[in-house]
Symmetry: C2
Subunit: 288 residues, 2 copies
DNA sequence: AACAGCGGTTCATTTTGTGAACCAATAACA
DNA sequence: TGTTATTGGTTCACAAAATGAACCGCTGTT
């Protein structure tokens, strides 16, 4: 029986921010209290503190809370100090153009890998990435490749906590997740088949900071039906080249083992620029 | 003598975020404690809470703190719920193109009006807006026009606190600031001459939400030397038209009194599209 | 008019935060 | 190289702050 984790007051207050997501813009006090499991009085105090800091704002008429303007100010500051969104967006556009599939970039955040930018495939059936989506470290391609290049003791700590199953296909056994991490480290790229969402297949590569530590991840996500062996190889090549470029642009340093794997994969000859045909070409037909 | 304002633990923790600005990306624990006036042990606890929430991140090697990735995630969410940066940027580009001067947009934040977007003038001498800059409500053009359309009791509260002088020209007398606010309400536009920075003249207009409350401000800032009467009128026209457009694009509602003032000003005929000449043309020379 | 739901307040109880002194590790210097 | 100074981080007796059940007043509904 897990003894109740004691959290500081600040932890409780900041946990309120997690309830604002894709489909929750304004949240009322009672609702916030219910979701957080706090008393209404405490919730009011916490929310008020966040309003005072500008992280939340309260509508004067209906009294509900929403994410505040100070968040934009701080984001602009961070983006000036460490440009990421500006650099990764053209890379994602290129990835999506080359693969024809939705791509996204993530940074490590308390609950996992948070999507910070994404470019959706132009195809009619495509994978949609929810704004603010946070992928689990153990169940997503991004998470696996991120852990593959993280310090082992850090990985150990992550795998010690109970691993949640996002779909029936999510791997939740620490040992087997560790095996997947090892495999990712050997290939430089990770896969996730239906692990985060049924019907979604994804591949991911790491991006490195100047200490050769994983800084971000790049991923391409497709409907499982389109994840053919050829498509996988082409996507892998696009991802490897994107990783090398972005790491360099960020002022990072690609570890030699990853660089080797990437260059080997990029050297593999394969019709890299195969324009995706709307209908499968039947190669059994005589061509002459 | 002001009795020491008792702050909650969360307030203290979140106050640490304010020390990250334009020229402070990584801040160490001791420095953070010194600036905040907190004990080192308390500062560590506060900073750790912010790291756990992802609002700060700590570099594993040099142990200093910086703004965290969760800020980007939250900013993206806010921007999806209430698009502002995406809509205001083209408006600012147009403003700067029409006036030839730096323009910026601000939202209300705990310490004043926070610059959320800006476009710099292409001229060699131009006003530079620091990233994350927060303008004082009482001393900036943005602040004056924001208060001019805010609830009077709210304004009263703002003017009760001691008003800081940013330059020798900053108006710090509550009565005289109130007079400036009244003037701004009568004209629909505000001015600040050297109030925030010496050598800077600025004009600002409000942008409204769907309850006719001020939502944001648009401002054009110039070196005082270029603030000629003609330039002021042209800038005012550009600002009024930008305000009407942006309010509409945001789904806001322009109050009738402001709409009247704006349309009256826009009806004034004046060579609106005078292209700025790089060198003054000597009209005394014969042209034929 | 009666009701239900909301945001917000009160105050005795209990849990939390605090900070001077301390330690270990790193960086700076001689 | 050895010495010093500064850093990030920890400890624990003490002091202050957070908590939440019961409460109020308001608003919109039936």
């Amino acid at each position: 029986m897990p003894q109740s984790e004691t959290k500081t007051t600040t932890d409780k207050a900041l946990s309120l921010l997690a309830f604002f997501d894709d489909k929750h813009d304004w949240i009322g006090l009672t609702d916030l209290a219910k979701r957080a499991g706090f008393d209404k009085a405490s919730t009011l105090r916490h929310a008020s503190a966040l309003v005072r800091a500008g992280l939340l704002q309260q509508n004067p008429s209906h009294k509900k809370y929403a994410l505040g303007a100070e968040i934009l100010r701080l984001a602009r500051l961070r983006e000036q100090h460490f440009p990421f969104q500006a650099l990764v967006t053209p890379i994602l556009q290129d990835l999506t153009e080359r693969t024809g599939e939705t791509s996204h970039a993530s940074l490590l955040s308390p609950r996992g890998l948070a999507t910070i930018a994404s470019v959706e495939s132009p195809k009619s059936t495509r994978v949609h990435i929810e704004t603010g989506f946070v992928a689990p470290l153990h169940g997503s391609a991004s998470g696996l490749i991120y852990m593959a290049y993280s310090a082992p003791e850090q990985v150990q700590e992550w795998l010690t906590k109970p691993l949640q199953a996002w779909t029936p296909y999510t791997e939740t056994d620490p040992g087997r997740v560790a095996a997947l991490i090892g495999q990712a480290r050997q290939t430089g790229i990770s896969e996730s088949n239906r692990g985060v969402e049924i019907e979604v297949f994804s591949q991911a590569v790491p991006v490195f900071d100047k200490d050769c530590r994983p800084y971000a991840t790049l991923a391409v996500v497709t409907p499982v039906s389109r994840a053919t062996p050829d498509a996988k190889v082409r996507t892998a090549q696009a991802l490897f080249s994107a990783s090398l470029r972005l790491t360099q642009q960020l002022g990072g340093l690609t570890p030699t083992d990853f660089k080797g794997l990437a260059e080997a994969q990029l050297a593999r000859s394969l019709p890299a620029e195969v324009p995706p045909s709307p209908l499968p070409i039947d190669t059994r037909l005589p061509t002459a």
